[in-house]
Symmetry: D2
Subunit: 354 residues, 4 copies
């Protein structure tokens, strides 16, 4: 009954097999291994983007920060949702990598940016010229930190506003595959065809051992990105193990298959809680995360049964009985089983009934 | 009829005389001139702070940024009002000087931070440990950007909250003298006795040619401050002209006299507008700034008569007729004359009556 | 015949097995997995340093930069050898992580810093007070970039000079194990007992898939290190795979065994080249790297036989016939076989004889 | 007998008069005063550069750092002389403003960069691609820190090498006027016509109260420069006093007249010391600085007579008798009198004869 985070799950067997297979003989380091050429082609093909620059790094924070630093100047601002990972969970990494850019916090339901909030923030930027920070980039996260997935229309609307203001768009796709299978569209539609310029394409939360891709649909600052990656200590000499994982990830649609499993688990969990008297689903369950609340007794029972999950707003994993205002953030991953979901729902339900 | 800003006014004659007098022979550069010793003593005596470290720089942005950088780490956040100068008008200088610290924006009337807003922000900081930026410093501005002056009680309340959370307090006193004469208390009461650790002590807006002091009531990071000042390019070789100005500023209470003139001018302006039918005073006039609104015709008339002032929210100085939502920010300085105030009020009044 | 770098070799089978074993079920992320507790204990025990803070990161550049950033201020300088990895091969990462510290370049044979060079540089630092960058940290690399290993006396001499000047000492131990087995002393003797405060303890070049430890013998800035690591994007959520590798690395002395293999390979290579007429060994072969020169014909033959290695001074791997001034940098790793060494020497030798 | 530095001298009377005259009524702040328009035209005309962007700041360190930051990226290196002010005397300001660029130190007599040293450094830059810092800008100082002045041919040779390598050239002209009157060429010849892209045009050391211009002959990054200036806290609200000084500086050739006075003083000093038995002139006296050595007794006598000057290599001003290895750095300014020169030479001479 592990719902703490999708980064706590294991790597998929296909991924592990690829790592083992990669461990043969010597290989040129730093991304000069031949498998990286294949990965680049896979991503370009999947995204219908033959000119895209593709790079691998080890963490989502690195992917986001390096991507954003390559899109803004230090005296500019990054527009993002108030609850976004780059604002809330990266200890200021975007500020560090960008040389001190500001983050302008936007609002919107389900941690998705509302167009009005974005437009108002733009209007308020740089009103007194050189005295103000300037317009930088927009960063949107999908699936969002509250489990929402932007519709294609929502993405396009934000990107159109951005484009009208010469603001490049970054997508934090730590859960890109979960959002993609949720929408059922093509990767290109979700990104550059809608106006996204740079993508953090997550793997870590979806069955990899710690690999993320960054895709620059506009490769004009690709060399700068490479230098920033190296300078940030994110160019891995034993890159072959990164390449191998990403290669396996895209082979035979594994990435979609894993995401579908996680999303389905979340749907099962949502359905179970919905039928639980006293439990309330707090946000749309568009991807692999469920936010819900229920009476304290249910939490005590769940935790006593061995369930692990976070309070929301986030604090350390629940230890001991929470107070009444407690809400639960329940994240499923590709390996979450029907059994643990059902056990969990049962524990909650029985606890409430006590 | 110049109400654009107090930084547009001339230097006081005593200041200019001091600069002229300082231009005799050679002097050791970089603050090693003997007059700087006198200035240090003047400030220590006025603030009843014999151990305070005292430094001079050329701009308020430099004073604030260097002060704050010496109080926070790059991975911390600076709590400040949403409308504060450090957030709105310094092009990200605090981020630059601090190595990328975040600014957490607080609310409160008249651009003064409310204790609740501060407490809530503290409670939301660092909840997930290493993943979050950490608690840094509090920065309060008095007189505030909307012309308000914190009472001693208000300062103490914020400083007490800060102290309970190990958060050092910075005061942006670009208009310190205006606030001081408004409160009628001692400089020590307004600062370290209430819990302020570091002060940006403005001179530029109050009759100097471009000099600000930074006072570190806690000198433990004084040497660091000196290195930051030099590294930022803010250690002036011809420092004697800075010293001379600050020396004259504190001689015979000149600083208070100049501030009183500016504050009185604002009171006269406020009184005049209050008697003007159709005009509304928008914020308390605690110091030398008046925020007011009136019908469009009044603005047209004022501008046509040669008045200069800024729209609020700030944009470039008014050119041509503003729209109905227009509000005016009218800043008086030590040299503002009764005549120009009365002329201005008359122009507005007559315009409205047309 | 792969001598390009020790980072091009495969992971050791024990390491791979540990990764596979770690992939069971869920695990708390971000270093909160139970195996990390074991790793911490292993390192503390091996280094006789019960209070040391221990962290894992993915690259040597991250280890060095984060370590150094936690030892210096932005206005200080890092003393290092002119040929050191932090100066030559990290694209300015130490400058980036430290917020713009300087690197002061020292001299000494075999890429080992000479005490005189260090002392002279210290004497020249900060002579004019605030106008100069200040004394920061010393960084020594062993095994060095030219294959040298500092004797314990050499380490102590440098550390003593450092200590007399309040300069903390960092050791870049990307090839720590190779140096350790070369000296035959204890890990503690090579580090804190000689005066080293912070250690980059390499694994990547010695059989791991891309994991390095940072050991802070003085843990006073440990929390700062953790924040810097997160902020730099180097805190891995799927940390369990890092922990598993490091755990296996220290189990049963595997790390020493692997290093001994690499060092022995280098000795065999050196011996072979020494017996090759026309070949010259250029630096002492203290660890796993051999620098040698021989006539052009020998290079052509070696490359034609499939050998891979770098020119020195470093450029891209040799393609086509080099010029006469060519020298070779030949790096052995734990998996280098006697056969490939012998083949290589034979190819060179036959080429020269043509 | 003040030879400590040209920044210790007084402001010229014409400059002071201009400041006094500027103190009339109100003025738009931040460089929007009308006199700044005149200054811009003066500099464009004098430099035959109608498109140049022109900005004023308060210190030479600010001028150099902001100029360089606008020319390089954080992952690039700035080529400069080992003894240059940006390396030796700015506490790392170029690193700070550039976001952590490196400085590559070059050699050459009289603190002038030799073409060979520059070419060799370029050849050694970026040899291993992304692992290395990249080629950034060249910074040359004239008059140099050892009193030398680059000939036009020397400037052109360095600029030609730079141009062949796509390296933009910065000139630190803290003593530009001294160099200009020494060469007797046009400002344009000394700068853009020879290949200089950005100029720090000093005023502070030549009779101003603390004002420097930055001239961007290539204005493509002018807006960036403005943002960097503001963000660095170097945009002065009371800019009118800067404008007034610079305006007077260029009026009627005052800048050249002041520089000629300082240079002539240095020639007189050199001549006097040359005739002093036991004294040796150490570097060519091309501008306003003399480096010389003589026996200890002469220093004791000079200091006892009230002379002030620095040891070289620089330490704090001489206090008490120096050791035998002592050399003197004697800087003349526009206000240095024949009398004090003659007195000084006499004191030295008599001291030696004792």
């Amino acid at each position: 009954m592990f719902f703490t985070s999708d980064n706590g799950g294991p790597a998929a067997p296909e991924i592990l097999a690829a790592v083992v297979a990669a461990n043969t003989g010597n290989a040129m380091p730093y991304g000069n291994d031949p498998v990286m050429d294949i990965v680049r082609d896979q991503i370009r093909t999947l995204f219908e983007a033959p000119d895209a620059a593709v790079y691998l790094v080890g963490t989502g924070t690195a992917a986001n920060s390096l991507a954003l630093a390559s899109m803004v100047q230090p005296w500019q601002t990054i527009y993002c949702h108030r609850l976004s990972h780059i604002q809330e969970d990266e200890c200021g990494a975007p500020e560090f990598y960008s040389g001190g850019a500001k983050l302008t916090l936007l609002d919107g339901d389900d941690a998705k940016i509302s167009p009005d909030s974005f437009q108002n923030a733009i209007d308020a930027t740089g009103r007194v010229g050189v005295h103000n920070v300037q317009k930088g980039a927009l960063s949107i996260t999908t699936a969002s930190e509250l489990g929402g997935v932007y519709t294609l229309n929502e993405i396009r609307t934000l990107c159109d506003i951005a484009k009208s203001n010469d603001i490049p768009v970054h997508m934090d796709g730590a859960r890109f595959a979960n959002a993609l299978v949720s929408l059922g569209c093509s990767p290109a539609e979700m990104t550059w065809k809608s106006g996204v310029e740079t993508l953090s394409l997550g793997g870590t939360k979806n069955g990899l051992m710690g690999v993320e891709a960054v895709v620059l649909f506009n490769p004009k600052r690709a060399w700068e990105f490479e230098l920033r990656r190296k300078r940030g200590g994110h160019l891995f000499s034993k890159h072959r193990y990164f390449s191998a994982q990403m290669n396996a990830y895209f082979d035979n649609g594994l990435w979609l298959e894993l995401a579908q499993k996680a999303n389905k688990a979340a749907q099962r969990l949502k359905a179970g809680l919905r039928q639980t008297e006293g439990a309330t689903i707090l946000h749309p369950v568009d991807a692999n995360t469920v936010f819900a609340s229920w009476p304290r007794k249910g939490h005590i029972a769940a935790v006593n049964s061995g369930a692990a999950y976070y309070h929301w707003p986030k604090t350390h994993p629940m230890e001991g009985p929470p107070d009444e205002s407690f809400a639960a953030r329940l994240v499923c991953n590709w390996a979450t089983t029907d059994t643990e979901i059902d056990q969990f729902v049962k524990a909650v339900s029985q606890g409430i009934d006590l």
